[in-house]
Symmetry: D2
C-alpha cells in the first residue's frame, strides 16, 4: 500500500518502522529532518513537505503531539486537505480533542477525502514492537481498508464505529481512568504510610491479586519507590490529558468528580516545579498536602 | 492448636471450616446458633457463650461485622477480655476502625493477653477455598504463633508490623483504593457512552492489558452490564468502608480528594434507594448525574 | 425564673451574666470552680456538682464544648437526667451532633423531662452583649416557657420546630456554609494573587457590595492580611464542625462536594501544624498547594 | 470626549446611555442594527461597521459576549486594530479570558494603540443606573484618560495595575467566589431541609447577620423559593464563567477544589435540561443528587 506518515516523534518512528518493515511503499515527513534518517535506511522515502508526504498516497498517517499541530498540518497551506488525493484516507493516530477530531472529520468529508481517528494506547517501546492498542473510528470502508496497516502497527484494533469522535472519546476516557487510578493510589499510599505501613508492603498487597495489572504494577512501583524520574508520561502531558477529558465532559455535560482530584494534584505538582516528572508525582503532591516530605 | 472462633457469618464459616479441616481442636460460637450446625459435623465443638468459646483456647479468632460487635464481644460482661486465658491470643479478622483496633489492643495488653489485628481481603467463596489474603500486625511472637493458622486460612499473609493499627490501616486504605477505582470507572464509562461508545467495547479496551486485573474485570463487568445485583459488597457496606477511611484520614490528617468523590456517589446512590445494590451502582449514580437513565 | 447553668466557658459566662443581670434566680456549675467567681459577685449561687445545679430548677441550661461532655453531664451518675425535676426543661445551647441531640432528647422524654436544643450563633463577646442568634427546637410549650430567657440571652430566636434535631441541623448547616465560603475565598484570593492582584484590592472588590457582610468582611480581612492569629474559630474546632456536617449528611444521605473541599484544606492546614490558627488559615493551605509561600 | 461603543446587548446599552447622557460625542455600532435606535434618539451617531465606530474616536469601548466576538471585532478585517487611530484607547468591558486579554493587549501594543481591560460587575439594570463596579487595568495614562468615562458609567472603579490581565483575573476570581458561594448555599439548604428545616427559616438564619449581603440575599432567596426563573445569570453562562476560572487557574497552576464542586453541579443541571435557568438551579441539582424532588 502507498502510505505516508507525518510526525516522527518516538511514537511515530515506531509506527513508521513497523509499516516499512512490512514492505509497504512508505514516504515520511517530519518538521525536523534528522529524525527521518533511520527510516530512510529501512527503505522509506523522505518527503520535504507535508504536500510531498501526501502526494499519491492511499493512506496518510499523522502522529502529532497536539491539536494545533494537527490543525496546521491538515488545514494549513499545502496541507493534507489540499494535497491528499480524493478518496484517500487520513488516519490521525495522535491523541486529539473531540473538537479537533470533529473539525478535521468535517473538513475531510467536505474535501471528498476519508478520515479515520485512530488514537493508540502504549508507550514508544511498545509501538516499536508493534504491540500498541488502536482505537479506530471512521467510515466503515475506510477502516476496513486500513485494517492491514493496523494489523502491522498494533497488537489489537478496537473498532468504535463510524463517528470519529467515538475513538477520540475512548482514548480520552481511558487516560482519565488511568489518571484517577494513580491519584487514588497516591492517597492510599500516603494514608497507609502515615500509620507506619512500608510503601513496598502496601504495593505488594495491592498488586498481588486485586490490582495485578500493568497500570497498578507500573505506576504503583514508581510511587512505592518514590522514583518519579522514570517517565511514562510527564505531569505536564497528563494535564493535557485532563484538559481533553474536561473539554469532552463539558461537551456532553458530564460531571467528573474523581478527575477533579486528579487534575488538582497535577496542578499542585506542576506549581511546585514537578511538571517534567512522571505523572505519578501526584502521589508526592498528596504526601506534601498531608504534611509529609 | 486449641482454637476458638466467634462470628460465623459467611466469612467466619469459611475460616472455621478451614481450621476444622486442618485438624485443629476447634470450638465455635455464634449469636444465632443455627449457623454452627455445619461446623459441628466437621468436628467443631459448639460453645453456648463468648466465654465458652474462649475457655482454654490458645487462639481466639473473631470475625465480626463492625466495631460495635467487636467491642461488645471483647469488653462486654463475660467477654473475651474476661474469659481468654492470660498469654493467649485474640486475632480479630473483621474489618475494624483504627480507633477500635487501638482500644482493643490496649485493653488486651492491660489484661496480659496478646492481640493480633488480621483483617482479610477476599469474598466468602474465596475464604471457603482458603485463598484470602491476610494483613497481620501485633506482637511478633503472637504473629509467629498464629502463622500455622494463617497458612491454613489464607493464600498469603502480609506481616505489617507490631503495631496492630498498621494492619487496620492497610485494610482501610486498600478498600479505599478499590472504591476510588470503581468511581473513576463509572466516570469513564459514562463519558464514553455519551459519545456513543458501547459499554462492552470500553470494558474490553480497559481490561485487555492496562487494567487486566480482578478489580477492573470484576467491577468493570458489572458496570458494563449495568448489573448491580451481583453483590460483591453493597453500597451500604462500602459507605462503612468509606467512613473507616475518613476516620483514619482525620486521625492522621490526610486529605482524600478522590475518596470524597467515591463517598459522595455512594451517598447519592443510597439516597436513591440503591443501598443494597453492589457498590458499583455508583456508576449508575454517575450516569444519572450526567442526565442518563 | 429558677435557672441553672452548667458549663462556664467563654460562651457560658456570657450567657450566665445575661441571665443573672436580668434578675433570675441563677445557680451555676463548672467543672473547674474558679470560672464561677465573677458570677457569684453578680448574685449567682455556685453549685458544687451537676446535681446541685439541677436541684429545684425550672430551666437548666448546658453550654458544653462537645458531645462527650453533654453525654457525661446528662447521663452520668447524678447527672441532669437523675437530678432535674420532672417537668423541668434542659436547654442545650452547645453545638452538638444530630446523633447526640437525638439521644439526649429521647432520654429526657423517657424521664418525663423536657428538652430543648438551642445552639447559638455568635462569638463570646457577642454573647456577653446579649446579641447572639438562637436556633431553638423542642416541645412547643417548653420553647414558649424558655422565651423570656432567650430574649434576655440573645438578639433573636429562630424557632425551628418541635423536633430537636432541626435546631442542630440549622447550626451544622450554617457552620458548613460559612466554612465553604471561607474555602472559596481562599481559592479566589490565591487565583487573583497569582496574576498580581493585591490582596487588599481583591478584598475591597468583593466586600464593597456583593459580599458586604460580616462573614466575608471578617474572614476576608484575615485572608487579605494573612493574619491567621486573630482567632474566630480554630482550624481544629472548624474540623469538628466539618465532622458534624458530614455525620449529619451521612445520616440523611446528602453528598457535600463543597464541604469536601473545605474539610480537605482544614486537614491540610492541620497536617502542617496550623491547627490552632483561625480556620481562615485554609487560605494559606490553598496558597501552598498553589506553589506560593 | 469622542467615544465609540461596539456591542449593544443589555449591558452595552446601559453603558452607552450613560455615556450619551453625560454629553459625550458618541458613535455606536451593533451587528444587528435595531438595538441602536433608542441611542440615536439620545443623540448617538449610528455607525454601519466596526471601522465606522472607530474612526476618529479617542476611546473605543467594546462590550462583547465572549472571546470569539472580541477577537473578530478587534482583529478581523477592518477591525478595531486596523481602524482605531494610533494613540487612541480600546476599552474592553466584557468578561474575557486571560488568554484573550493578553493577546488583544499585545496586538494593540504592537499597533501603537492603548488597551484597557475593564470588565464590570453588575446586572443590566445596575448598568443602566450607572451603578456597576469597574475593574480597570492597562497603561497608567490610558486608565487616567478613561477615568471621566468610568465615573459616568459606574459607581466605582478599582484600578488593578498596568497589566491588563490583572483586571481579567479579578473578574474571573470574583465570579468564581460567587459561584462557589451559591453551590455551598445549595448544599446547606438541602442538608437542613432533609432534617425538616423550612427553607424560608434557613434563609432568614443565614442572611439576618452573617450573610446579610446581596449575593446571599439574592441567590439565597431564589433557592429558598426554588424559583430559578428569575435569571441573574443562566447556568449556561455561569459555566462559561467556570471555564474562564479553570483556564486561568491552569495558566498559573492553581488547584480549585471548591470551584470543581460548582462546575460539576452546573454540568449536572445542564445535563438535566436546566441550562437556561438561573445558576442557582445548582441547588436543585444538589437536591436531586440527595434524593429530593
Amino acid at each position: 500500500m502507498k502510505v505516508g506518515i507525518i510526525g516522527l516523534g518516538r511514537m511515530g518512528q515506531g509506527i513508521a518502522s513497523r509499516v516499512a518493515g512490512a514492505g509497504h511503499d512508505l514516504c515520511v515527513y517530519n518538521r525536523t529532518a534528522d529524525k527521518a534518517a533511520a527510516l530512510a535506511k529501512a527503505g522509506a522515502k523522505i518527503a520535504k513537505s507535508v504536500a510531498g508526504a501526501c502526494e499519491g498516497r492511499e493512506v496518510l498517517i499523522t502522529m502529532l503531539a497536539h491539536d494545533e499541530a494537527l490543525d496546521e498540518v491538515t488545514r494549513g497551506p499545502s496541507g493534507v486537505l489540499a494535497s491528499l488525493p480524493k478518496g484517500s484516507i487520513h488516519v490521525a493516530m495522535g491523541t486529539h480533542s473531540i473538537l479537533a477530531t470533529r473539525a478535521v472529520s468535517q473538513a475531510h468529508a467536505d474535501a471528498g477525502q476519508l478520515f479515520v481517528a485512530a488514537p493508540v494506547q502504549g508507550r514508544p517501546e511498545v509501538a516499536a514492537a508493534g504491540q500498541i492498542g488502536i482505537f479506530a473510528a471512521g467510515p466503515a470502508d475506510a477502516v476496513t481498508r486500513c485494517r492491514p496497516l493496523f494489523d502491522v502497527i498494533g497488537r489489537k484494533t478496537y473498532e468504535a464505529g463510524t463517528d470519529q469522535t467515538t475513538a477520540a472519546a475512548i482514548k480520552v476516557a481511558h487516560n482519565m481512568v488511568l489518571g484517577c487510578a494513580i491519584e487514588a493510589l497516591g492517597e492510599g499510599f500516603v494514608l497507609a504510610e502515615k500509620y507506619g505501613v512500608k510503601r513496598q508492603l502496601f504495593y505488594e498487597v495491592l498488586t498481588d491479586v486485586l490490582f495485578a495489572c500493568p497500570a497498578y504494577k507500573g505506576y504503583g512501583k514508581l510511587i512505592a519507590d518514590e522514583d518519579y524520574d522514570k517517565i511514562g508520561i510527564t505531569a505536564r502531558l497528563a494535564l493535557k490529558d485532563a484538559d481533553l477529558a474536561f473539554a469532552a465532559a463539558e461537551d456532553v455535560t458530564v460531571p467528573l468528580p474523581s478527575a477533579n482530584a486528579w487534575r488538582d494534584r497535577l496542578l499542585g505538582a506542576i506549581a511546585h516545579g514537578l511538571a517534567e516528572k512522571d505523572q505519578s508525582v501526584i502521589a508526592h503532591a498528596q504526601a506534601k498536602a498531608s504534611g509529609l516530605r
